[in-house]
Symmetry: C2
Subunit: 149 residues, 2 copies
Amino acid sequence: MQISSRFSIGVHILSLLAIRPQDHHTSEWLAGSVGTNPVVIRRVLGHLKKAGLANVKAGSGGATLARELDEITLLDVYRAVDVVEEGNLFHVHEQPNPACPVGANIEKVLRLMMFKAQAAMEGVLAAVTMRELVDVLAREIEEKRAANG
Amino acid sequence: MQISSRFSIGVHILSLLAIRPQDHHTSEWLAGSVGTNPVVIRRVLGHLKKAGLANVKAGSGGATLARELDEITLLDVYRAVDVVEEGNLFHVHEQPNPACPVGANIEKVLRLMMFKAQAAMEGVLAAVTMRELVDVLAREIEEKRAANG
DNA sequence: TTTTATTGTAACCATATTAGTTACAACTCG
DNA sequence: CGAGTTGTAACTAATATGGTTACAATAAAA
């Protein structure tokens, strides 16, 4: 099991919009960098638009950031692309036997522990802004450029 | 996307082994409490056995704990039932364009952030032992018993 | 030894999700 | 108008999940 690459694609797209603000970001252009089909990009971009993270212009085409990078956290992207239903990262089996003491009570205990684990994960995503990520990315690009030419 | 219920089933099984040590824990009996098919139980139990968390006796049947509750963390169970490939909770898209500066460098940055998020989640699981979980569960059972009779 | 109950595993099924693809109506703007 | 683009539906192949039947191998009781 893995969390859908829609999340990583969403981050990739927003990074492109941030780092290359001058370009005409069509789904085809974005797909070229992500390495996938334009329709996949349009689907993810649709999620980002709905969440108020990106603007997309129909007809003439092109996407832009709808918010400052400082005001977009990785958790915002994660939620936007709808990869994990809220509070349900873990699937808890659904028919424990209520006639058995363990069966009747384990669900509550399990959900508590799993919620904490999930919250810890999302907390890390919430603590990183796209500004920080793009800064790290830009530094990475610059370092490689300096090294390889 | 959700992490397979094998994990919650595994915890449920170990809890049963701990709370009802006197019973004959056949897959059928366990399935009765979990609310699923005995084969599903046997499959999970197979994972737990392989990981050294449970003993299962073929032929005459019956499962028992193979370790003290204090020496089993939720992370042990999570790893045992093989719900998430190590280090790969997040699926990162696999063909970013190396000719694009963003495409060439985003994977490393993404993996770093995602690894931190995943590690935070697993850290919570590692911090909870089956002893603690079973204690909470036993308290829950007792409270309900006292209230409802 | 025979009988009975159980495990371990293969095989199959229905369902769901994912990511890619084709197709096309609706839209924007030169 | 015409060229280029988005939004979306529809289809596909691949994969994972959880349930089910079936049965050989096994253990222990009768």
